[in-house]
């Protein structure tokens, strides 16, 4: 294997071909004022692949996934989601947001709506499902994340772990092609981290395409197909969990891992 293999994030795991790429980022560049958040990022995520992104704070990993659903606007390069390119075209942006689901670090549930309404919001307002169908779907998803009994409560009445699971259900309700997780467990008390990770692991096992930004290495080892290490706005190293965690090749990777493992 040439040296490039472990720095090239466009090589997907398994023997996926380019036709299986759900997310394609080509030479993406993003700056905030005078800070370069993403420098020439090339990245691909394949169908049913689980990619975990790790790195120090400020490395650009959040910006990476936020560019995918246009919460941040990339300044240069091209981004494709399921064949649709992310441009200034408002229709494209809407399409892509329908196909991507995002789970935030701070859950961001809508506090003035019930849990059921929170989850049903997407299908009802964006996919224009009738209310009854949307709510049935919501209930089904709440069962899947194991909290159907909370349907009529309000977010403030739930624990952090429960809220995050509702957030996952809310994102799933749109039946997205790829799920984006932005440090889903970083704001949780330790005893609730596992209940959320279990839900995410089950999603992975059910074949959902995912990009997960996280610090949870154990989780990465269990479900990741690929782990991507980012620093200073660039993708530094890529590999399977065993390759990256146990045999890191780049200096920066080794440094980072030594600090957290």
């Amino acid at each position: 294997m040439s040296k490039d293999v472990f720095t090239d994030a466009t090589i997907m795991s398994g023997d996926r071909s380019d036709d299986d790429a759900i997310v394609v980022m080509d030479n993406v560049y993003k700056r905030f004022k005078d800070f370069e958040a993403l420098k020439k990022v090339n990245f691909k995520v394949g169908r049913q692949e689980v990619v975990v992104v790790i790195g120090p704070s400020g490395s650009g990993k959040s910006t990476l996934i936020r560019c995918i659903n246009r919460l941040e606007e990339h300044d240069d390069g091209r981004i494709f989601v399921d064949g649709t390119e992310l441009t200034q075209d408002i229709r494209n942006i809407q399409e892509i947001r329908k196909e991507t689901g995002m789970v935030f670090q701070n859950f961001n549930l809508f506090p003035h709506l019930s849990i059921l309404t929170n989850v049903a919001m997407g299908p009802r307002q964006v996919r224009r499902m009738p209310k009854a169908t949307a709510e049935a779907l919501a209930l089904e998803l709440l069962t899947r994340v194991k909290i159907p009994e909370q349907a009529d409560k309000y977010p403030s009445q739930l624990s952090g772990g429960q809220q995050q699971r509702v957030a996952i259900a809310r994102a799933l309700a749109m039946k997205p092609k790829v799920m984006l997780f932005d440090e889903p467990t970083s704001a949780l008390d330790p005893e609730m981290i596992n209940e959320v990770l279990d839900v995410i692991k089950e999603l992975a096992r059910d074949g959902m395409t995912m990009v997960v930004v996280t610090h949870e290495m154990g989780f990465a080892r269990e479900v990741a197909d690929r782990v991507v290490f980012m620093a200073d706005g660039e993708i530094v190293e890529v590999g399977t969990p065993e390759q990256l965690f146990d045999h890191p090749k780049e200096e920066r990777t080794k440094q980072f891992l030594s600090q957290i493992l």
Binding site: R70, N108, V126
Partner: protein
Amino acid sequence: MTWVRRNLFRSVGDSLLTLVFGALALYVLWGVIEFVFITGRWEIIQVNLKLLLVGRFPEELLWLVSGSLMALGFWVAAAGGVAKHTSEKPPSVGAKIWNGIQRFGLLAGVGILLIVLSADWDSVALGALIVAAIVAGRLVALARNKIGALSRIPGWVWQPLLAVAPITLIALTLSQASIDLWGGFLINFYIAIISIFLSFPLGVLLALGRKSTLPIIRLISTTYIELIRGAPLFVLLLLAGVALEFFVPPDLSPGSIFRAVTVFTLFTAAYVAEVVRGGLQSISRGQTEAGKALGLSTTKLTALITLPQALRNVIPAQIGQFISLFKDTTLAGVALNVVDLLNVGTAVTKQDDFLGQGLIYEALAFVGLLFWVGAYFMSRESQRLEKRLGVGLR
């Protein structure tokens, strides 16, 4: 005993303060009591009661006002619903009565005062009917809780149903009695309510505009808000008094109440905008991001997520705005010659029967009392609401 010592006579200096201020307070209180019950000549109020309260409202249509009051009382009592007792022990009947007295005692007191002043059986009957309407409202609210058939009626049907009576009555009043004959306390309320109602959508639009990411929109909104906020309301009213006709097509001659409402609406909208802007700023950015990530359009995001929360958060501040507006309606009396309570109050001292008798004290005391009770009651209710909602934006 220790309470007295701790709060009144903690030290020598403290005791001195207590004595001095206590004496002062007693002196003032005695003066007030003397004025109200002994030396005050309240005839001027009694004779002009109708003028003070409703202006030159046509006599034969006064039942519309009475009816509206009853319907309003019924509606407020019924729409409030029965409070859900979240604490373990529901309050005793005695506690509930004491609570009621604290909340509505002042209003009831003023009502009784008005009845006593008018000194005729009609007003006693009216008072009794209003009380009856309120009791009926409470019973209906209770019934809705207890009777299965009623509780199954969905909220969006029940509320409008309750509102039918007061709204039809008010609409009737508006159409039958020419607005230019309205006056007294009634017109202060009416102008305030119409203005706050109309200014609200404009204020919300301005607030959204001020927070918009689109530069031209932001500029227009900010300019409007800052221009209005730098201008004294009185001068704007004067301007409207002499100049409004210049800005409408020729041959249209706006009446003074129309001018008043126009100015108050445009003025209050700028202040409402600032209040709503505070509410919008209190919504965390993550909310909008989550909405966008779901694919919600900006309009849906604002309408379903941001605005409902923002508006709910600023309800107390909004009520404060209404109270200010209510007090400011007195300016219309001077600037535009609207026959409001204060205007009538000063005018009646110049009537033939009362001229030159120094009755201005009695007149202003009555006027002040009515405004004070109105404003005080509303601000207490707002505080109560704030506590119940558990929100509070400074």
